[in-house]
Protein backbone atom coordinates (compact mmCIF):
# COMPACT_ATOMS: atom_id res chain seq x y z
CA UNK A 1 0.00 0.00 0.00
CA UNK A 2 1.29 3.43 -0.95
CA UNK A 3 0.52 6.68 0.76
CA UNK A 4 0.97 10.40 0.35
CA UNK A 5 1.16 11.15 4.04
CA UNK A 6 4.29 13.22 3.61
CA UNK A 7 2.53 15.45 1.08
CA UNK A 8 -0.55 15.84 3.30
CA UNK A 9 1.69 16.67 6.22
CA UNK A 10 3.47 19.31 4.16
CA UNK A 11 0.13 20.79 2.98
CA UNK A 12 -1.01 21.07 6.60
CA UNK A 13 2.38 22.40 7.65
CA UNK A 14 2.99 19.76 10.33
CA UNK A 15 6.33 18.35 11.34
CA UNK A 16 6.51 14.58 11.92
CA UNK A 17 6.66 15.23 15.64
CA UNK A 18 3.59 17.51 15.63
CA UNK A 19 1.56 15.04 13.59
CA UNK A 20 2.65 12.19 15.87
CA UNK A 21 1.51 14.08 18.96
CA UNK A 22 -1.83 14.98 17.36
CA UNK A 23 -2.75 11.36 16.69
CA UNK A 24 -1.01 9.86 19.73
CA UNK A 25 1.82 7.86 18.18
CA UNK A 26 5.60 8.18 18.12
CA UNK A 27 7.50 10.22 15.52
CA UNK A 28 9.14 6.96 14.47
CA UNK A 29 5.72 5.52 13.56
CA UNK A 30 4.95 8.50 11.31
CA UNK A 31 8.33 8.10 9.65
CA UNK A 32 7.71 4.37 9.10
CA UNK A 33 4.31 5.05 7.53
CA UNK A 34 5.73 7.73 5.24
CA UNK A 35 8.49 5.41 4.05
CA UNK A 36 6.00 2.57 3.49
CA UNK A 37 7.61 0.35 6.12
CA UNK A 38 4.50 0.24 8.26
CA UNK A 39 0.84 0.00 7.27
CA UNK A 40 -1.28 1.68 9.95
CA UNK A 41 -4.43 0.23 11.46
CA UNK A 42 -7.89 1.39 10.43
CA UNK A 43 -8.15 3.41 13.64
CA UNK A 44 -4.96 5.31 12.89
CA UNK A 45 -5.94 5.82 9.24
CA UNK A 46 -9.30 7.25 10.35
CA UNK A 47 -7.59 9.54 12.85
CA UNK A 48 -5.42 10.88 10.01
CA UNK A 49 -8.47 11.23 7.80
CA UNK A 50 -10.25 13.27 10.50
CA UNK A 51 -7.19 15.44 11.06
CA UNK A 52 -6.64 16.15 7.35
CA UNK A 53 -10.38 16.41 6.76
CA UNK A 54 -10.12 14.09 3.76
CA UNK A 55 -11.26 10.53 3.01
CA UNK A 56 -8.69 7.81 3.74
CA UNK A 57 -8.59 6.86 0.05
CA UNK A 58 -7.16 10.27 -0.78
CA UNK A 59 -3.85 9.51 0.85
CA UNK A 60 -3.77 5.69 1.11
CA UNK A 61 -3.83 3.72 -2.14
CA UNK A 62 -3.73 0.02 -2.83
CA UNK A 63 -1.03 -1.29 -5.17
CA UNK A 64 -1.26 -4.07 -7.76
CA UNK A 65 0.27 -6.63 -5.39
CA UNK A 66 -2.20 -5.86 -2.56
Amino acid sequence: MKNTLKVERAINNFTQDELAKKIGVSRQTINSIETNRYVPSTVLALKLSKLFNKPVNDFFNLEEKD
Binding site: A20, V25, S26, S32, P40, V43
Partner: protein
Protein backbone atom coordinates in the same frame (compact mmCIF):
# COMPACT_ATOMS: atom_id res chain seq x y z
CA UNK B 1 -30.58 -15.60 30.08
CA UNK B 2 -28.41 -13.01 28.39
CA UNK B 3 -24.89 -14.42 28.10
CA UNK B 4 -23.44 -11.63 25.97
CA UNK B 5 -22.37 -9.25 28.77
CA UNK B 6 -20.68 -12.14 30.63
CA UNK B 7 -18.71 -13.17 27.53
CA UNK B 8 -17.76 -9.55 26.82
CA UNK B 9 -16.61 -9.13 30.42
CA UNK B 10 -14.43 -12.25 30.15
CA UNK B 11 -13.00 -11.05 26.83
CA UNK B 12 -12.19 -7.65 28.31
CA UNK B 13 -10.54 -9.25 31.32
CA UNK B 14 -8.50 -11.47 28.99
CA UNK B 15 -7.47 -8.47 26.89
CA UNK B 16 -6.50 -6.53 30.01
CA UNK B 17 -4.32 -9.44 31.12
CA UNK B 18 -2.68 -9.81 27.70
CA UNK B 19 -2.06 -6.06 27.36
CA UNK B 20 -0.56 -5.72 30.82
CA UNK B 21 2.55 -3.53 30.82
CA UNK B 22 4.63 -1.95 33.54
CA UNK B 23 5.26 1.81 33.47
CA UNK B 24 8.24 3.04 31.44
CA UNK B 25 10.47 3.72 34.48
CA UNK B 26 10.48 -0.01 35.25
CA UNK B 27 12.74 -0.44 32.24
CA UNK B 28 15.54 1.40 34.01
CA UNK B 29 14.89 -0.55 37.21
CA UNK B 30 15.00 -3.79 35.22
CA UNK B 31 18.30 -3.01 33.46
CA UNK B 32 19.88 -1.69 36.66
CA UNK B 33 18.82 -4.74 38.67
CA UNK B 34 19.93 -7.06 35.90
CA UNK B 35 23.38 -5.39 35.73
CA UNK B 36 23.87 -5.75 39.51
CA UNK B 37 22.75 -9.39 39.52
CA UNK B 38 24.90 -10.17 36.47
CA UNK B 39 28.00 -8.63 38.06
CA UNK B 40 27.33 -10.46 41.34
CA UNK B 41 26.90 -13.71 39.43
CA UNK B 42 30.17 -13.06 37.60
CA UNK B 43 31.99 -12.23 40.84
CA UNK B 44 31.00 -15.60 42.39
CA UNK B 45 33.65 -17.15 40.13
CA UNK B 46 36.33 -15.56 42.32
CA UNK B 47 34.99 -17.00 45.57
CA UNK B 48 35.47 -20.52 46.82
CA UNK B 49 32.95 -22.71 48.55
CA UNK B 50 29.54 -24.12 47.80
CA UNK B 51 27.75 -21.25 46.11
CA UNK B 52 25.31 -23.30 44.06
CA UNK B 53 22.22 -22.09 45.92
CA UNK B 54 23.32 -18.45 45.67
CA UNK B 55 24.10 -18.89 41.95
CA UNK B 56 20.72 -20.48 41.36
CA UNK B 57 18.93 -17.60 43.13
CA UNK B 58 20.97 -15.01 41.21
CA UNK B 59 20.23 -16.71 37.88
CA UNK B 60 16.49 -16.73 38.58
CA UNK B 61 16.63 -13.10 39.76
CA UNK B 62 18.37 -12.09 36.52
CA UNK B 63 15.49 -13.72 34.59
CA UNK B 64 12.97 -11.75 36.66
CA UNK B 65 14.77 -8.48 35.92
CA UNK B 66 14.89 -9.30 32.19
CA UNK B 67 11.18 -10.04 32.35
CA UNK B 68 10.62 -6.63 33.96
CA UNK B 69 12.45 -5.02 31.01
CA UNK B 70 10.33 -7.02 28.54
CA UNK B 71 7.09 -6.00 30.25
CA UNK B 72 7.98 -2.31 30.57
CA UNK B 73 6.27 0.19 28.31
CA UNK B 74 8.17 2.26 25.76
CA UNK B 75 8.01 6.05 26.08
CA UNK B 76 5.28 6.07 23.42
CA UNK B 77 3.53 2.72 23.38
CA UNK B 78 1.66 2.83 20.08
CA UNK B 79 0.36 0.26 17.60
CA UNK B 80 3.68 -0.07 15.77
CA UNK B 81 5.43 -0.94 19.03
CA UNK B 82 2.70 -3.52 19.69
CA UNK B 83 3.36 -5.05 16.28
CA UNK B 84 7.11 -5.13 16.95
CA UNK B 85 6.43 -6.78 20.30
CA UNK B 86 4.28 -9.45 18.64
CA UNK B 87 6.98 -10.10 16.02
CA UNK B 88 9.66 -10.28 18.72
CA UNK B 89 7.59 -12.74 20.78
CA UNK B 90 7.12 -15.06 17.82
CA UNK B 91 10.78 -14.75 16.82
CA UNK B 92 11.91 -15.53 20.38
CA UNK B 93 9.49 -18.46 20.61
CA UNK B 94 10.65 -19.97 17.32
CA UNK B 95 14.30 -19.31 18.22
CA UNK B 96 13.78 -20.90 21.63
CA UNK B 97 12.26 -24.07 20.17
CA UNK B 98 15.00 -24.43 17.54
CA UNK B 99 17.72 -23.69 20.12
CA UNK B 100 16.29 -26.30 22.51
CA UNK B 101 16.20 -28.91 19.74
CA UNK B 102 19.48 -28.16 17.97
CA UNK B 103 21.88 -26.98 20.67
CA UNK B 104 22.17 -30.33 22.55
CA UNK B 105 22.88 -32.14 19.26
CA UNK B 106 25.43 -29.50 18.28
CA UNK B 107 27.11 -29.77 21.70
CA UNK B 108 27.22 -33.54 21.46
CA UNK B 109 28.73 -33.55 17.97
CA UNK B 110 31.32 -30.92 18.94
CA UNK B 111 32.38 -33.00 21.94
CA UNK B 112 32.48 -36.15 19.79
CA UNK B 113 34.90 -34.43 17.42
CA UNK B 114 37.17 -32.68 19.93
CA UNK B 115 36.79 -34.55 23.25
CA UNK B 116 35.10 -37.91 22.56
CA UNK B 117 35.69 -39.15 26.14
CA UNK B 118 33.47 -36.32 27.48
CA UNK B 119 30.71 -36.67 24.91
CA UNK B 120 27.38 -37.01 26.74
CA UNK B 121 24.02 -36.10 25.28
CA UNK B 122 22.40 -33.58 27.64
CA UNK B 123 19.27 -31.50 27.25
CA UNK B 124 19.38 -27.80 28.02
CA UNK B 125 18.35 -26.52 31.43
CA UNK B 126 15.38 -24.24 32.05
CA UNK B 127 17.60 -21.25 32.83
CA UNK B 128 19.50 -21.58 29.55
CA UNK B 129 16.31 -21.78 27.48
CA UNK B 130 14.55 -18.90 29.24
CA UNK B 131 17.69 -16.76 29.15
CA UNK B 132 18.03 -17.42 25.41
CA UNK B 133 14.38 -16.59 24.70
CA UNK B 134 14.42 -13.36 26.71
CA UNK B 135 17.68 -12.12 25.19
CA UNK B 136 16.53 -13.01 21.66
CA UNK B 137 13.28 -11.14 22.31
CA UNK B 138 15.11 -8.04 23.55
CA UNK B 139 17.71 -8.09 20.77
CA UNK B 140 15.09 -8.54 18.05
CA UNK B 141 12.80 -5.90 19.56
CA UNK B 142 15.50 -3.21 19.85
CA UNK B 143 16.95 -4.06 16.44
CA UNK B 144 13.50 -3.85 14.80
CA UNK B 145 12.67 -0.65 16.68
CA UNK B 146 15.88 0.98 15.53
CA UNK B 147 15.45 -0.10 11.92
CA UNK B 148 11.73 0.44 11.53
Amino acid sequence: MNMKPKIECKQKRGEKFLNFKLPNYFKKIGWFGFAIVFLTLFSTKFFEGDLEILKSILKKTSLVFLLVVVFSKEKVEDEMIERLRAQSYSFAFLGGVLYTLIQPIFNYITFLIFKPEKAVFEDLGDFQILWFMLTVYLMFFYYAKKNN
